[in-house]
């Protein structure tokens, strides 16, 4: 019998039914790929490695999935977050952007631009370095903030659409979005002062 609902998939996973796993896979694998690409960066090979590690770890522990602790999607994203972090730690080439070496806080061009204090975005906004710093800032946010920001600003879902999926109201989503944006700005401000100085846009 096909499994349609999240509850049915969860029950099937707990029972060890492989069709439940396949249903989960078919529902979330492509979405997970995009999510990992955004939060982890890297080339397609890196993304594939993290996605695979995430799904294998999920497959190995799926029978223990507890629906009371969150949705299947947030469960997968949690695993992906850990796997992406593990991958980053293993990739020494990324050490140049080690956030631990950038703990000095201060106003940044991003924070200023995001807050509307300057009109022109920092010149390196589209660079790989920028994307990496944004990823690192996102990675330090609570997971629900991270997912919310990505859903709104990368997937282009409206607050109402997000609310419908989460079983809440548009107003609640907008409020939470505001807090999430603020948190992201704060993280960016801590992570990127040296790059701001290079660009000469530090306020």
């Amino acid at each position: 019998m096909p499994l349609f609902s999240e509850q049915q998939i969860a029950a099937g996973l707990q029972a060890g039914r492989q069709e439940a796993w396949l249903q989960l896979y078919d529902t979330y694998a492509a979405r997970l790929w995009r999510h990992v690409a955004r939060i982890g960066g890297g080339d397609a090979s890196d993304v594939a490695d993290v996605v695979q590690a995430t799904l294998l770890a999920a497959a190995g522990s799926a029978r223990g999935f507890d629906p009371s602790r969150g949705s299947l999607w947030s469960w997968l994203c949690g695993i992906a977050r850990n796997q992406a972090a593990l991958s980053k730690r293993q990739n020494k080439s990324l050490n140049a952007l080690n956030p631990d070496a950038r703990q000095d806080s201060g106003e940044t061009a991003w924070a200023a631009w995001l807050a509307g204090e300057i009109d022109e975005p920092p010149s390196r906004l589209q660079s790989k370095e920028t994307a990496e710093i944004v990823r690192q800032a996102l990675a330090r946010l609570p997971e629900d903030y991270q997912l919310l920001l990505l859903s709104r600003y990368v997937d282009g879902n409206s607050a109402e659409e997000i609310a419908l999926a989460a079983g809440t109201t548009g107003q609640a989503v907008r409020s939470k979005l505001a807090r999430a944006r603020q948190a992201l700005q704060d993280r960016l401000a801590r992570l990127a002062p040296s790059m701001i100085a290079e660009d000469g846009v530090k306020q």
Binding site: D43, Q52, A53, A59, L114, G116, Y153
Partner: protein
Amino acid sequence: MKRDDVSNVHDDASVENRFTQLLGSLEPHSAEPSENALHNMRELTRAAFVTAAAAKNPRSSLFTYRKLRSVAMVATAAMVLISAGAILFLARSKPAYGMADLPRLMATAKTLHTQSLVFSYAPDEQFTPFDKATVLPSESWIDLPNDRQHGKSFMSWRSGDGARHVDSVESVSIGELKMDINHTKKTVSFHKNTLLDQRLAARQLLHQYLRSIAADEAAGYTKVGQEQIDGKLYNIWQRTHEGTNRRPGKDGKEGEIFHYTMRVKCWLSPDSGDIGRVEQWVKDSATDTWRPETFQIKVERDVPIPAESFVQKAPDGYEQVNTPQKPYVHPVSTRWASFIGDVSIRAYVGFTLEDGSVIIGWAAEPKWPEQAEVNKLPDDQREKRRLEHIGEVARQQEPLFANLKVGGDLPNLPAVLSGLKSYTQPFASGPEVTYSGNHLATTRYEGRFIEWSLYVPERAPSSLSRWIYLTQWRSAGQAEARDFNSIYADPITGQEDFDTLVRGSVAERSDGGQVPPQVTYEAVKRLAEEMRARHNRSK
């Protein structure tokens, strides 16, 4: 606008736009998933899910084979499964079971239950480039005291058009009666073997298991960590060794030599000596990637056997080829058989003695062109014709057996099982060892001449290459060659083993049940020493 005010501008279009631009920087080319990669992962993760589910539920049915199109993914899968558990490096001060204890623990086992995943690669030739693997789950119960076995596995075969097929098969043996089930073809057949052959088959399963984990090379293992499986603590032992082998060539010729690296990981409980898991990996030198060979995900010694494990009842809806009351009767087993030109050569049974020498009973005779026609005859006529044919061949061969000497040359049959080669792939390290053969004894079974030869290794073989050999043969007008189908020779320990198994098997393959007087434990040991000394002198 102050940053403190930002929470009040969530509906500000420019802020929304700025965040969209910023987070849009995360959208790399890799964001769009690769359909091929996702397809591979779907199959891979399904296998991983089933494996994990089976590990938690040992009674789950495992018997669906799955194709994994990327071996690298398979390797990663298993690595991730391994690392999924917390590996702790802890020092233990109290005495604990180690790998050196394993042969003793296994040798004293009365029952053994295993569940395995066998990774089969296509094409079949070892270590050729591969792009997909087939995972073949299998399960086995061995009940030595009660002469019972139950196995579920897969049988790979090729049809006339060269296509590869995999059938799901199962067998249940109780005493002399064995029930074979082909779940793919939905057929059931019953077979009767001798009790001794059934016992030897059970021992073979146990020994092959020990060999598969290289348990007799305990010194090569190092402890690399600890892990909990289902709440039980296991030490992880690992052994890695280099080896070489030769690929099968075309037209019976020897192929090129290649090198490989083998790794065995064994999860062993320091408290009970129980095995939690065993994994075998091989590193392909061409691609420098590790690929899984076999994972044993359940290994249980002396556990209660579920009652339904040994029921010889045909599943509903299956075609029953014969009945338990009228089984196919197999008077004696054949361990290895091949055609060499127009000659049929077969090895009935083999034994490896403690000094490494090997006894094999074998026979060679011309092909029987009429056999296909004879097989169409009614049972009584077929049996009569078969015995007549054996008699004719025996009369032709009688002169060749007339003047054989113990320790002398082998009978000059149309094809001769002249020697053995150590079976170095995939487990053993070290170079190949050749075993030279000499005559030990002759028996006649159903009138047919059976040659019992003793093969002595040119030097001490690796313990890992024991028990399984490649056969080397010669025939008229052809150079020495070998067959790449291996033969198992049961390890014999002590006189009691020798008397029960070796002399028992010789007696079963002797029309009068008589065992030639030179086939005794002490006499064979002496002969092996003489042969070894002779070989050393001739070097």
